[in-house]
């Protein structure tokens, strides 16, 4: 028996716990528990009123059973009764039971509130503390504010209680005159009170810095007193010879809510403090214990954070850097890890960047020798952060060689980093091309689309490197086994610039073609499609291989390929090569124009991947210790750009432009003014979310039917106007208006005959392009005369964002990896809603497929759930989207979760889809 439990122990409880511990099997344990539960239940229900001690004992037993992992469905009332006991031990158990077991939305809350109110009013500090502790855990309990003229320990609890309330429901505790009084708690004699108050003030200051500015001078003064004190001065608060380490850390953290003090005297006092802390790090340790060095270094690291946050004192920055440099070689893994982490942020300061760079060899060594993967990861981060033109080649080479053995979990990130550094610091673009090809060779599976798109963009935009790129990919493709990503890059580059190396007989057109085609059959469909486009480009570049390529295109495996995309390309390219004159071929297959320069898509991807507060980024604002990361968040979401027009884009241009011939083009935006007053019909709109065909509008006179098809960012809609009467419609006209023309764009509408005979149906074609993500749907305005009256009809056309989905198949692993990457709070939208239709698995499947995403089997561990993935194509961007639908048949509810790289897209898709079930 432990020493403390003498005298006050609950014997029955101890016996019960021993019994449980002696149980040989799980079954025996359950049996013993059930027996006890029955016993307690009968005691609670019995006629005899229980005394406080028994009640306490039984409630405590219930608590123990709950903590073992069993459900408890009674005893709450008895626990609440304990609150009104006069005895501390009974009250304490009551409060403990409540804070562990009772949810904030329980019906008991009112009773509990009463108990708490009574205790707060009791003037008994022990009881007041119990009540305050409980409030801090059961979160929603309304505001009960405590005045500060009580005992110290109550002040401590009150401060933190207030903090908790401020976090959970800030409107319950409006700022008021008490704020000024709180700041003065920093002067309190009791360091425990100061510790608690500093936490409160830091949180409040993050929300409204101006209201708490006065805390700066008080915090500096307090800190100064602590760091200059002899180690025995603070007695209780000295921990292994370090004066009040936790309080110092908190004060330094509070100061990080503000810029350096403007007042010169205050500023120099703070600088003195920081210098003292740095000096102490150089003094011989007062104890050999790790506790001593940890406590001392906790303060030191926080001081360095503040120095970096201020970023204004070059000498301090350099000293900090030197100090961290020492830690890089320390025998404690913890310190090496923290030094690497902290140095990452130092690297982005102009004052200390050079000083950080001097440690490059140590960091590279860490990459090679550290046993803990998280330390190696910090080393990679630091190398990335310290990279500039002078050391880029060395760092990239080191990262590449590390990549060969790197842990799988961090490979993709290293690939992105290498790609970014190579691009950012490339003076010589041949080096860049070599680096990326190496990257594909070493870690092809981890090279994402963004990376290989980017190398193509750069090669296309820089004509000085095109010949070299063609030569290099040609050589790389010679390898018997090369990664599919290399085939993609190779196909694209040779298709564009193969002519630059065709002079050499070793890389003559035919050799190039044969080389590419030898990989063809090993590749996936998208790569093959790309290669087919490369072939047609070859026909333009090298007329001498035309016959060979036509032969290939003509073969059954192409012309009758089961994949419709490949088949279509083969047919069209073959036809094009046969009928088009050389001039037309040369125009259609012209070299790709340079890409507009925007932020690198890879950089955007890395930012997404690393998430806020976690990225030592070259250009990015440095991490704010207090967790304010909104600013970096914003740049992330707005910058998702994918710059590549893939080969299939020109395929689509080929068919869409001629059909929307110039004579048919109607300016759809010119005469919408007269129609403004008509009510827009949208009752059938939701039915079209998951399907493309059907009747969108019908009244006694007219029926409007739709058939539509979409491919990537383009769509075509056939509108059928059916005259249901036996009389002619005269002056029939229709037009389409888009509220947001910049976003979804009706390219053209074909004209309609102004007269529709009775019982007849006419057709109109709309060509649609999605420019970027949008919410508002276009409106179709129809006007005609029937029996002398003018009819105006306006119908919302079902052009929704999800129509531009392209389904994406992926493995479970890929799915979760991407799911993780899209983890920022605003990228996710979740909705829980009641089922409006019977919950049928097959129907749900059909709807999700109709919505446009691929339905992924066996991805979700729960087979009841539906998981889907797709990419929304718009002219400007592509937005990847993952969704998960969890039906709960018992409750007749669904939970729908969507994650995309854009918050507006997540929201829109969620709104659309959640209406469907």
């Amino acid at each position: 028996m432990p020493a403390v439990s003498k005298g006050d122990g609950m014997r029955g409880l101890a016996v019960f716990i021993s019994d449980i511990r002696n149980c040989k099997s799980k079954e025996a344990e359950v049996k013993r528990i059930n027996k006890e539960l029955a016993n307690i239940r009968s005691k609670f229900k019995g006629d005899k009123a229980l005394d406080g001690y028994s009640k306490k004992k039984y409630v405590c037993k219930l608590l123990f059973i709950f903590l073992l992992g069993h459900d408890i469905d009674f005893g709450h009332m008895e626990a609440v009764n304990l609150l009104s006991s006069n005895k501390y031990t009974e009250k304490q158990i009551g409060y403990l039971f409540i804070s562990v077991l009772v949810n904030s939305n329980s019906d008991l809350i009112r009773l509990i509130n009463n108990g708490i109110k009574n205790d707060l009013a009791s003037r008994n500090p022990t009881f007041m503390n119990l009540a305050l502790h409980c409030i801090a855990f059961a979160s929603e309990i309304p505001r009960i504010l405590v005045a500060g003229d009580t005992m110290d320990s109550v002040k401590q609890s009150a401060a933190l209680c207030l903090l908790r309330l401020n976090r959970t429901s800030p409107d319950l505790v409006p700022m008021g005159e008490w704020t000024a009084r709180v700041v003065h708690l920093l002067n309190d004699q009791h360091l425990g009170v100061v510790t608690a108050a500093t936490s409160l003030i830091t949180t409040l200051a993050q929300k409204s810095p101006d209201d708490f500015k006065t805390s700066i001078s008080l915090a500096v003064a307090r800190l100064s007193r602590i760091v200059t004190s002899a180690s025995i001065d603070l007695q209780d608060y000295t921990y292994y010879f370090v004066a009040a380490p936790w309080l110092s850390v908190k004060l330094l953290r509070l100061l990080q809510c503000y810029p350096p003090p403007e007042d010169a005297a205050l500023r120099s006092r703070l600088t003195e403090c920081l210098e003292t802390i740095l000096n102490k790090a150089q003094e011989p340790p007062k104890s050999k214990k790790v506790q001593h060095s940890n406590a001392k270094n906790a303060v030191l690291f926080e001081a360095i954070s503040l120095i970096i946050h201020h970023d204004s004192e070059p000498t301090l920055l350099v000293r900090a850097c030197n100090q961290l440099g020492q830690f890089l070689q320390h025998r404690e893994t913890n310190l090496r890890y923290l030094a690497l982490e902290s140095m990452c942020t130092l690297a982005s300061s102009e004052f200390s960047h050079e000083a950080v760079k001097t440690h490059i060899e140590t960091v590279i060594n860490a990459l090679k020798t550290e046993r803990d993967v998280s330390v190696r990861q910090r080393a990679v981060d630091l190398l990335y952060a310290m990279c500039d033109r002078s050391n880029a080649k060395q760092i990239v080479a080191e990262m590449l060689s590390y990549l060969e053995t790197a842990d799988y979990s961090i490979r993709e990130e290293i690939v992105l980093k290498v790609a970014i550094l190579a691009e950012k610091y490339a003076v010589d673009y041949t080096w860049y091309v070599d680096t990326i090809l190496n990257l594909i060779r070493i870690a092809g599976d981890y090279v994402s689309e963004e990376v290989w798109y980017r190398v193509i963009q750069i090669v296309i935009n820089r004509d000085d490197v095109q010949g070299y790129a063609a030569k290099t990919v040609f050589e790389a493709l010679q390898a018997p086994a090369c990664h599919e990503n290399l085939v993609k890059v190779g196909g694209y580059i040779l298709g564009e610039f193969g002519n630059l190396i065709a002079g050499d007989s070793r890389s003559s057109p035919l050799v190039q073609f044969n080389l590419l085609h030898s990989k063809f059959h090993l590749c996936s469909v998208p790569t093959r499609a790309l290669l087919l486009s490369a072939y047609i480009k070859f026909i333009n570049l090298f007329p001498e291989v035309k016959a060979t390529i036509q032969e290939v295109l003509r073969s059954d495996s192409q012309l009758r390929n089961a994949d419709v995309e490949l088949q279509q390309r083969a047919v069209e390219y073959l036809r094009l090569s046969c009928i088009a004159s050389t001039d037309i071929l040369a125009t259609v297959l012209e070299e790709m124009p340079p890409f507009p320069e925007r932020e690198s898509s890879i950089l955007a991807k890395l930012k997404r991947k690393k998430g806020p507060g976690n990225l030592p980024d070259i250009d990015d604002a440095r991490r704010n210790v207090n967790g304010n990361t909104e600013h970096s968040e914003k740049t992330e979401t707005t910058n998702k750009v994918t710059l590549v027009r893939t080969a299939s884009a020109y395929l689509l241009n080929l068919n869409s432009t001629p059909t929307a011939g110039a004579s048919l083009l109607v300016d759809v935006f010119s005469d919408s003014s007269t129609l403004a007053s008509v009510e827009v019909s949208d009752e059938n709109f939701p039915r079209f979310v998951c399907k493309n065909n059907g009747v969108i509008f019908e009244n006694q006179l007219l029926q409007i039917g739709l058939k539509s098809e979409y491919r990537q960012n383009l769509g075509r809609m056939y509108v059928f106007y059916g005259n249901k009467t036996s009389t002619q419609f005269l002056s029939f006209s229709s037009s389409v208006t888009c509220n947001d023309t910049l976003k979804n764009h009706i390219l053209s509408t074909s004209s309609v005959d102004p007269i529709i005979e009775g019982g007849a149906q006419v057709q109109q074609i709309l060509n649609i392009e999605c420019v970027s993500d949008f919410t508002d749907a276009p409106v179709l305005n129809v006007q005609f005369r029937y029996g002398g009256t003018l009819q105006n009809i306006a119908v919302k056309l079902p052009v929704m964002l999800n129509k531009f989905f392209q389904p994406t198949e992926m493995t479970s692993q890929d799915f979760f990896q991407r799911w993780k990457q899209l983890g920022a709070p605003q990228q996710e939208v979740q909705k829980i809603f009641k089922a409006k239709h019977p919950m049928d698995t097959e129907v749900t499947k059909a709807k999700i497929l109709g919505f446009g995403v691929a339905l992924l089997d066996r991805v979700d561990p729960n087979p009841e759930n539906f998981v889907g993935a797709g990419v929304i194509h718009s002219k400007n961007t592509q937005v990847g989207c993952l969704l998960r639908l969890e039906p709960n048949t018992q409750a007749q509810m669904y939970r729908l979760t969507l994650r995309t790289s854009r918050d507006s897209v997540s929201q829109r898709l969620c709104d659309l889809l959640s209406e469907q079930f």
């Binding site: 028996m1 020493a3 403390v4 006050d8 101890a14 716990i17 405590c60 608590l63 903590l67 992992g69 005895k87 403990l96 022990t126 801090a136 855990f137 320990s153 401590q156 609890s157 209680c161 903090l163 908790r164 976090r167 360091l191 425990g192 510790t195 608690a196 209780d236 608060y237 921990y239 380490p245 936790w246 309080l247 850390v249 940890n294 406590a295 906790a298 690291f301 893994t333 913890n334 890890y337 923290l338 046993r371 803990d372 993967v373 998280s374 990861q377 979990s409 961090i410 998430g611 507060g613 976690n614 991490r623 704010n624 207090n626 979760f816 799911w819 993780k820 983890g823 709070p825 561990p861």
Partner: protein, 158 residues
């Protein structure tokens, strides 16, 4: 801010769980298992810090809790017991690492050479110790003398 405090033994039995943010019971169970899986595989050559996001063995947790990319676990092993504190990624690692030790020293003093059994039989008292030292996810009191004095005072109450 502290998200939760966990004390587990090597077999993964929970000896104390104190939560400072809302989780439902399933989530708590999941977290307890994951934390156990993550910390028990680490040895003395590893740091005492786990950025859950980087290290997690299973994807399940990260799918359940996207906010975890901003959390880390700071842990320390005492004989067969792991003391784990989950905090924000920007929090001061060493301060919480020593926070754990400070807590353990108080337990040791209070129970006169604490052992795992003390935590089992006196679980309701361990909660009191936690409440004296940590509150609302923040450090409340760091002075061992003051905490022990308060605990003894409470002990004397009936």
């Amino acid at each position: 801010m502290i998200r939760f405090i966990l004390i587990q033994n090597r077999a993964g039995k929970t000896r104390l769980a104190k939560w400072y943010m809302q989780f439902d019971d399933d989530e708590k169970q999941k977290l307890i298992e994951e934390v156990h899986a993550v910390v028990t595989v680490r040895d003395a050559k590893h740091t005492n810090f786990v950025e859950v996001w980087d290290q997690l063995v299973s994807y399940a947790l990260s799918v359940l809790f996207p906010q975890f990319r901003n959390f880390k676990i700071i842990y320390r092993r005492y004989a067969g017991l792991y003391f784990c504190i989950c905090v924000d990624v920007t929090d001061n690692n060493l301060a919480y690492l020593e926070g754990i030790h400070n807590f353990v020293e108080v337990l040791n003093e209070y129970f006169h050479n604490v052992c795992e059994l003390d935590l089992v039989f006196n679980f309701y008292k361990v909660y009191t110790v936690v409440d004296e030292m940590f509150l609302a996810g923040e450090i409340r009191e760091t002075s061992q003398t003051k905490v022990l004095k308060q605990l003894l005072m409470l002990q004397s109450l009936e």
